[in-house]
């Protein structure tokens, strides 16, 4: 499939080319003479200055953990160890991941802006993921062959001979809740609230060093360049060729940016995000921090939108299948649960606030889990939750839900 997809960079180039030839006075992007390259390629002395290996590693670790959550051979300890990997522990199928000193858990709810002075919430969030693992192993794995009913964990098959889903007593698939919550707690939080934050980009002597082209140790990049690239890596780090991303390179943010872009109501969002990453990085090279920060705000707005659109989309998908195909409904609602949870890591541009606070998010997830959870949920409640979310954004429930 992917080989047919035009790379975003190709589109960016074509878009610029065709618009540049159009001399009817269209408003150019104000970039203070900072020019973004066509692709995410930045070099110093003919060698690349781009590096985000740690992000690629964590994305790949996260994929193995999510797969591990539906392998009943795994114990709670096995999965906990994968989640909180330590260097050279034999946790993964990929030797390179085992050798790494990185772990997923250490970067969950770990951004400078949101959690440096809020370890209390950070601990609760990390333990929420621990609980998903614990309940999956202790309550769902033993019921793998049981038919799920209201209040009873087990398996339930989608219509049309479709996939079999494994749910807890309330109909929640922990593997989906884990994966979609991780998009917020790891990818979105690290990108929006850590690496694109001035507190990180401008930390210590970063500005002076970047201005004077003082490199980070033996590396070929300045620290500020590297921080920006690490943000880039949490979205594009699993691409075959990250300089020309095609998206859907992982099951996390990469996939869902593509999905939202595929909705006519939001088409172009993927290109907007990529262009902002390129221009912001070019601005760092040009030492223009106003342009850099303007791009960070664009990325914050757009990626926050992806989480909200996808949350509402799955709430509405769940609503459409309630009653006729409960397994499909539960699958969609489990994805929705994770995306709604992830809203607390979004970032309103120009502020240090999420679109929905932790407390607001927990009110919504609590509504999903009231009583026997998805077995009891009503279409009206799903609409109310959808509308509560869309009211904080510039789109409607109907636009997101289609």
């Amino acid at each position: 499939m992917k080989k047919f997809v035009l790379g975003l960079a190709t589109l960016a180039t074509l878009g610029f080319t065709s618009c540049n030839s159009d001399d009817d006075g269209g408003t150019p992007v104000v970039t203070n003479n900072v020019t973004a390259p066509d692709t995410y390629v930045f070099e110093r002395d003919a060698a690349s200055t781009v590096s985000f290996g740690g992000q690629t590693t964590r994305i790949q670790m996260a994929q193995e953990i999510v797969s591990g959550l539906v392998n009943t051979a795994n114990t709670e300890l096995t999965l906990d160890n994968m989640f909180a990997h330590v260097e050279n522990a034999n946790d993964f199928s990929d030797a390179a991941l085992n050798a790494s000193d990185k772990s997923v858990r250490s970067k969950v709810a770990a951004s400078t802006d949101y959690f440096a002075a809020n370890t209390t919430d950070a601990s609760v969030i990390k333990s929420t993921f621990d609980l998903y693992i614990q309940d999956q192993v202790n309550n769902v794995f033993p019921n793998w062959a049981t038919t799920a009913t209201s209040g009873v964990a087990g398996q339930i098959q989608q219509a049309g001979g479709g996939s079999t889903r494994y749910v807890n007593a309330k109909g929640l698939e922990y593997n989906q809740a884990f994966a979609k919550s991780l998009i917020g707690a790891l990818m979105v939080d690290q990108i929006l609230n850590n690496y694109l934050s001035t507190a990180v980009l401008d930390a210590g002597d970063n500005v002076a060093n970047n201005n004077a082209d003082v490199l980070d140790g033996t590396n070929n990049y300045t620290t500020m360049e590297h921080k920006w690239d690490e943000a880039f890596g949490y979205l594009y780090g699993n691409e075959d060729n990250p300089a020309v991303p095609v998206l859907e390179a992982d099951k996390f943010l990469s996939e869902y940016l593509a999905k939202v872009d595929g909705d006519d109501d939001f088409s172009g969002i993927a290109l907007d995000v990529f262009n902002a990453f390129k221009l912001g990085r070019a601005a760092i090279v040009a030492k223009d921090y106003d342009v850099r920060d303007a791009q960070a705000e664009i990325i914050r707005a757009k990626i926050s939108q992806v989480i909200a659109v996808r949350g509402i989309y799955y709430l509405q998908q769940g609503k459409a299948n309630l009653g006729t195909d409960m397994a499909s409904a539960f699958h969609a609602l489990s994805e929705a649960y994770g995306f709604v949870y992830s809203l607390q890591f979004t970032r309103k541009p120009g502020t240090t606030e999420p679109y929905l606070t932790k407390d607001e998010v927990l009110l919504l997830t609590d509504q999903l889990m009231t009583g026997n959870g998805f077995w009891d949920i009503t279409p009206a409640t799903l609409d109310t939750i959808s509308d509560t979310i869309s009211a904080e954004f510039s789109f409607t429930t109907a636009q997101a839900g289609s």
Partner: protein, 365 residues
């Protein structure tokens, strides 16, 4: 889907930036004078309802011969029942595209033709002796694929199959399967003749919920999923790392899947041309609709592409599972020819009709 989205993005960029020629095409502002009610009436009265009546007759024969067989499970009765199964399965091919009205409400096609059937579920149902055949989780243990298994797959030889029917649970399951198929079909047919026909021929506006728009979408979805993907793409391994020959249709019978697919493709073409059968004159339908919209080029191209695809299918083994196992290239060639029609339907025809696609690809996770 995804690649189209990018291509559309590209088109939008180019369109938005390519100078001052303000021709405002494709916005749907052109009024559409085609008589959609006449098309719907032709579809309902000459195609949809008669095909359901044919299927109902075929299933009643199947039930009768099924009763004869379960009362006296001998080779003659088994052969007669198998022949009735093949005939009814052919009748089914002609109604599968009509996932509208009660068929949609009941998820009729999910209860009639989900394959591969899950034989472990069937055997578990038989062993338990109690089951709810309408349960969503039994979609892959009922319908034609389940009957196919019951008549050809439950044992290696006919003698052993006949022995199985000495056990009352096997006989009961077969009887219940056929009764369920009859009951569902009767419900759908009765709704068409007493209720839904009136809705179908009067709901002709160009909105996402009108019967015309839904029917067009159902038709294309069936072509893309039910015909192209299920009968060819999935067994040929188009969507997987390796071919999955066992996912072909009617694998236990093992001799009819090519013919079923040709019947299905003929049916798609007849619906397109508004014809009751291949030898009927062209009636009101998508072909005439395109002609009315000055798109004779596209109307002709679609028929040409369907004819090309049929030629690619006609050279295949009578059993598509065998074809995958012996020369899968011919399968993928047939798939490729079928895929060209998807593009004509889903992109060009829908654009001409100014109708939006109302379904999206499943997540796949």
């Amino acid at each position: 889907m995804k690649k189209l989205a990018y291509i559309f993005t590209l088109m939008l960029i180019v369109a938005a930036c390519s100078g001052s020629d303000d021709s405002d095409n494709g916005s749907g502002s052109t009024p559409d004078n085609y008589n959609r009610a006449a098309m719907q009436t032709n579809l309902a009265d000459n195609i949809i309802i008669p095909r359901y009546q044919d299927l109902k007759t075929g299933l009643e024969t199947l039930a009768t011969l099924g009763d004869t067989f379960t009362a006296t499970p001998n080779q003659t009765n088994l052969d007669n029942l198998r022949a009735a199964f093949v005939n009814a399965y052919k009748d089914w091919q002609l109604v599968e595209p009509f996932n509208i009205g009660q068929a949609e409400v009941l998820q009729y096609s999910f209860q009639m033709n989900v394959y591969p059937t899950t034989t472990a579920d069937i055997e578990a149902n038989i062993a338990n002796g109690t089951y709810d055949l309408t349960a969503v989780g039994n979609n892959d243990a009922v319908g034609f694929p389940a009957v196919d298994y019951m008549l050809h797959g439950i044992a290696a030889t006919d003698t052993e199959i006949l022995n199985k029917y000495a056990t009352s649970n096997y006989a009961a399951y077969l009887t219940d399967l056929i009764a369920q198929m009859n009951s569902l079909t009767q419900t759908v047919l009765t709704d068409w003749t007493t209720n839904y026909r009136a809705v179908f021929i009067s709901s002709t506006s160009n909105t996402v919920s009108s019967a015309v728009n839904k029917f067009i979408n159902d038709y294309i979805f069936y072509y893309e999923k039910g015909l192209r993907a299920n009968k060819f793409g999935i067994p040929a391994g188009v969507f997987s790392t390796n071919p999955l020959a066992d996912k072909a249709e009617a694998v236990y019978n093992g001799t009819i899947s090519r013919d079923l697919s040709i019947i299905a493709l003929d049916n798609v073409q007849n619906i397109f041309n508004g014809k009751a059968t291949s030898t009927s004159p062209t009636g009101e339908g998508f072909y005439n609709y395109l002609i009315e919209l000055d798109r004779a080029d596209l109307a002709t191209l679609i028929n040409t592409r369907i004819n090309n695809a049929r030629q690619k299918i006609q050279v295949l083994n009578a059993d598509l599972k065998t074809q995958v196992e012996t020369d899968n290239t011919k399968m993928t060639e047939a798939y490729d020819a079928l895929q060209l029609v998807v593009i004509s339907f889903k992109v060009d025809m829908l654009q001409a009709f100014n109708v939006s696609v109302d379904y999206v690809d499943a997540d796949g996770d």
